[in-house]
Symmetry: C2
Subunit: 460 residues, 2 copies
C-alpha cells in the first residue's frame, strides 16, 4: 500500500514538482566552459537544499579536483540492500543559441514537453529519483531500502575527477549496486534496458601557419594554408570505405559472434525511418556493418567541431594563421582510450603537411566501454517494472553513447550499475531544443517508487 500512497502524494503535488524542476533547469550549469562556473555552483547548492527538503540526510557539496559532487544518504533500513544513486547536475553547452525556439535556460512547456538545456540530460531524471524518495519518506516516514546519493558536475566533460573521488571515498560509498538516473532509454516507442555502452576519448588539433592572418592575394601561393593542411589531415583519418584509417585503431576490437549479430539484426528497427527521423541520408559510415552495429558495436572517430579563418557573412580574402578541429572517438570493449588517443596523435603528427605545425591537445576526460550481465537482479527488476508500465516485453539493448560511470564504479567499488533513467534518446539532449516529456516525469516517479519498494525482495 505504501507504493499507492506515495504515488497519490505525488499526484496531489504535480504543480510543485514541475515548479521545482523548472527552477532547477533554469540554472545554467554548463561544465565544459569556465564562463558558467557560477551556474555549476548554484546547481550543486540547489540539489543540497532539495535533497534535504526531501528527507535525505547529510546532504552536502563535496570538493573534487574539478567541479564538486553532491552527496546525501538515508541509511535506516537494516538488513535491506544499499543502493548508490547516481546522476549529474551539469549540462551540455547551449549553443548554437540561435536555433533554440525558447531560451535554453528559460524552461518552457509546449505540447506536453518541458524545453530547456539539461532537462532530459540529466535534470529531469534526477528529479524523478528525488521526488520518488520524497514521496516514500513523506507517506511512510521511512524507506524500504538504504540509499546513498552521488551527483556529479562533470559528466558532460568526461567525469575525469569522479573516479579519484570515488576511490578516495570508497568506504563511504560502498553499496550493493548503483542505480543510475542517467543513461537515456533507446527509444520513446520501445522500452528497453541497457546492457552495454561505448567508451569515449577526445582531443583537438590546431594547425598553425603564418604568425598572423594574411591577405590571400598578397601572400597566396607563398605560405601554407592551415585550413588546407587541416582538411588533408582530417581526410587522412578515414578510409574511403568509412573505416578509421589510424594504424592500430581496431587492433583490440573483438568481432561479435554471428549469433550476437543475429540478435541485433532481429531487433525491431527500421533504418530508413530512423534516418528520416533525424533528417539524415543513408550511405555514410563504415561499410560492411548494419546501422545499429555501427552505432553499438563498432568504434567511431567523429569530428565535433572545426574552425579557422573568416566565418562571418560574405567573404574575406584571408589566409588564416590557424585552424582547429575537435575530434572524439566512441570505443568498444577492450579498446583503451589513452592508447587510442596516442595512436591518433601519432597519425596526425606523421601526416602533418610541410609548411605548417601542429598542436595536439588531449582532453582529460576519457571513459572505458561498459557491460553488465543480463541476469543481474537489479537489472531484471528494472526490466519487470518497465514491462508492467508499458504492458510489453522489455528488450536488453546496447548503446552507442558513453556512460563512463559503469566502468568506473566497477573498477573503484567493485559493483555493477543499473541504468534506470526516464529520458529517451530523441530528446535532443546534445542539440538545440532539448526537452523532457512530462509523461516520462510522472511515469518515472511511479516506476522509481515501485523499484525502491521492491528491490529489497528482489535482491534477497
Amino acid at each position: 500500500m505504501s507504493e499507492a500512497a506515495a504515488r497519490a502524494w505525488v499526484d496531489a503535488r504535480r504543480d510543485d514538482v514541475l515548479r521545482t524542476l523548472t527552477e532547477y533547469a533554469s540554472i545554467p550549469s554548463v561544465s565544459t566552459d569556465p564562463a558558467y562556473a557560477e551556474g555549476i555552483a548554484k546547481a550543486a547548492d540547489f540539489l543540497v537544499e532539495l535533497l534535504t527538503k526531501s528527507g535525505l540526510e547529510h546532504a552536502s557539496v563535496q570538493p573534487t579536483a574539478g567541479h564538486p559532487v553532491v552527496t546525501a544518504d538515508w541509511l535506516h533500513a537494516p538488513g535491506q540492500p544499499t543502493l548508490l544513486i547516481y546522476g549529474h547536475y551539469d549540462v551540455q553547452p547551449p549553443d548554437p543559441l540561435e536555433k533554440w525556439h525558447s531560451p535554453p535556460f528559460t524552461p518552457a512547456i509546449r505540447d506536453g514537453r518541458l524545453y530547456a538545456r539539461g532537462v532530459s540530460d540529466d535534470k529531469g531524471p534526477v528529479m524523478v529519483a528525488i521526488t520518488a524518495i520524497a514521496a516514500l519518506l513523506a507517506t511512510s516516514g521511512r524507506l524500504p531500502v538504504n540509499l546513498k546519493f552521488l551527483l556529479e558536475g562533470e559528466e558532460e566533460m568526461g567525469s575525469a575527477h569522479l573516479g579519484p573521488f570515488v576511490e578516495a571515498h570508497a568506504a563511504e560509498l560502498a553499496a550493493d549496486f548503483v542505480l543510475s538516473a542517467d543513461g537515456a532509454g533507446w527509444r520513446a516507442d520501445l522500452p528497453t534496458v541497457t546492457v552495454a555502452s561505448r567508451g569515449l576519448c577526445a582531443l583537438e588539433v590546431t594547425v598553425h601557419g603564418a604568425a598572423k592572418d594574411l591577405h590571400s592575394g598578397r601572400h597566396g601561393g607563398s605560405v601554407g594554408n592551415p585550413i588546407q593542411a587541416l582538411a588533408r589531415l582530417l581526410a587522412s583519418l578515414h578510409r574511403d570505405n568509412g573505416a578509421v584509417a589510424v594504424a592500430g585503431f581496431y587492433d583490440r576490437v573483438r568481432t561479435l559472434s554471428n549469433s550476437a549479430r543475429a540478435e541485433i539484426a532481429a531487433l525491431p528497427f527500421d533504418e530508413a525511418a530512423y534516418l528520416a527521423s533525424v533528417g539524415a541520408l543513408p550511405g555514410s559510415g563504415e561499410a560492411g556493418w548494419s546501422l545499429l552495429e555501427r552505432n553499438w558495436i563498432r568504434p567511431t572517430l567523429e569530428f565535433n567541431g572545426i574552425s579557422g579563418g573568416y566565418a562571418g557573412a560574405g567573404g574575406k580574402t584571408v589566409i588564416p594563421a590557424s585552424a582547429n578541429a575537435k575530434i572524439s572517438c566512441r570505443l568498444v570493449p577492450h579498446q583503451d582510450p589513452h592508447e587510442i588517443l596516442g595512436l591518433i596523435a601519432s597519425h596526425l603528427t606523421a601526416h602533418c603537411p610541410p609548411g605548417v605545425t601542429l598542436d595536439i591537445h588531449r582532453h582529460a576526460g576519457v571513459s572505458q566501454p561498459y557491460a553488465i550481465a543480463e541476469d543481474h537482479r537489479g537489472l531484471v527488476l528494472a526490466q519487470q517494472i518497465l514491462q508492467e508500465l508499458h504492458g510489453k516485453k522489455v528488450l536488453p539493448v546496447r548503446m552507442g553513447a558513453t556512460i563512463p560511470i559503469g566502468e568506473m564504479f566497477a573498477r573503484c567499488l567493485g559493483i555493477d550499475t543499473v541504468f534506470f533513467s526516464f529520458a529517451t534518446s530523441d530528446e535532443d539532449y546534445h542539440a538545440p531544443n532539448e526537452f523532457f516529456r512530462l509523461s516520462s516525469l510522472w511515469d518515472g516517479i511511479g516506476a522509481w517508487i515501485a523499484y525502491l519498494s521492491r528491490v529489497g525482495e528482489a535482491w534477497r
Copy 2:
C-alpha cells in the same frame, strides 16, 4: 614653385590632416557584412564633405545596385589631360576582434604608425590624393590637370556593381587614364610600380548532414558527419604536390617565357627572410615554382574560412548538422573567373561523399587579371617620382593580389590604370592591427603634388 608652395601648405597643416584621417578611419565602413550599413553611408557622406571642402566640384553620393559611389570633379584646365582618380571607402571586416591591440575603429598612433581597420586599405591613400589636391587648389587657386573622382564602397567584396555604374556613366567618366589611390606597393624597403595583378573569384560550400546537431554517441556511426565530408571535399581540391586538382583549372594558363621567369628570379628577394617576416615555414604551395612565381604568375585556390559544430572552450560530443568552407582563387591572365567557379562547383558536386548534401554559393564579385604596358607614360611618371623620392631605381613588379578595377576600366572606358598608392604590403590590411605609416602619408602627399603638377607635360 607651385609644388613647393603646396608642400609647405601641407607641412603647416599636418595636425589637421591627421585629425581628418583619424575621423575618417573611425567610421566602420565594412562592406561585406550588412550589419555595417550605417558605416558605409557615413563614410560616403564624409567623403562628399571632404572633397567639397578641398575645392573639388560636384561632389555627390551616387547610387549603384550595391553600395553607392562617391564622385566629384575639377575640369578647368583646358588642353591638359584628364585623370580619373580611383579609390574605395569600404574596409575589410575587423575580426578576429580579440587580436587587435587597440579597437579597430578607434584609430591609435604607435611608433609612427596609425592603427585602424582600413587605414592602409584604402582610407590613408585616398586621404593622400585629396590632401594633395586641396594643397594645390589652396596655393594656386587652380589645378594643372583635369580630375574626376570615383570612390567606391564595394572593393572589399569584389566591386560587383562598379562595372555597371562605369558602363552607364562612361561619358561622364571619360578620361585619359586612371590614377589609382588603391593598390599597395610591394615592399616598404623597395619602391616599385605594379604592372600586373591577379584575378579573383570566390564561392562557399555548405555540407548538410542530419537536420539538426546530434549526440555523437547516440548517433555516431549511423549518420554522415558534415565536417568529415567537408574535409574530404577540401582535401580533394589540391594534389599532393600542392597543385590545384580541379579538372581544367590550368587549361588557359600560359607559361611565362624563360626570360620573363629569369627577370623575376633576378629581383632582390629573400624567400627565407620573407617567410620569417610573416612567421611562416617553407615547404607549402605548388611544387616546381619559386615563391614569387607562385604568388605572381601562378593561380591559387585558397581556403579563407571553415566552420562547423562546436568551436567554444572544451569539447562537445556532437555531430553537427552542417559545415561550411569559404574558398577563393587568384587567377592569372586568360583564366576566366566564372569558368573557374563552374569548374570548382562541378568538382565539389562530383566528389560529394554519400550521406550528405551540398549547397554551393558563388560570390557575385569576380575580377579578371590585369596588366599595363611598361612604357605607359603615366606609369613612367610614377616611376620617376618614386625614384626621386627614394633615390634609387624603381622596379616594375607584378602582384599576387587583385585590383579588379584595372581590367574593368580597360573594358568599360578603354583606358589603363596607373597604381600610385602609398600603402605597403606589410601593413596587415586584411588582418588584425592594420596600420598606415605616417611617413607614407607625408611622402605620398608630396608625390601626388608632384605627379599632378607634372602629368600634363609627361602626357604631351
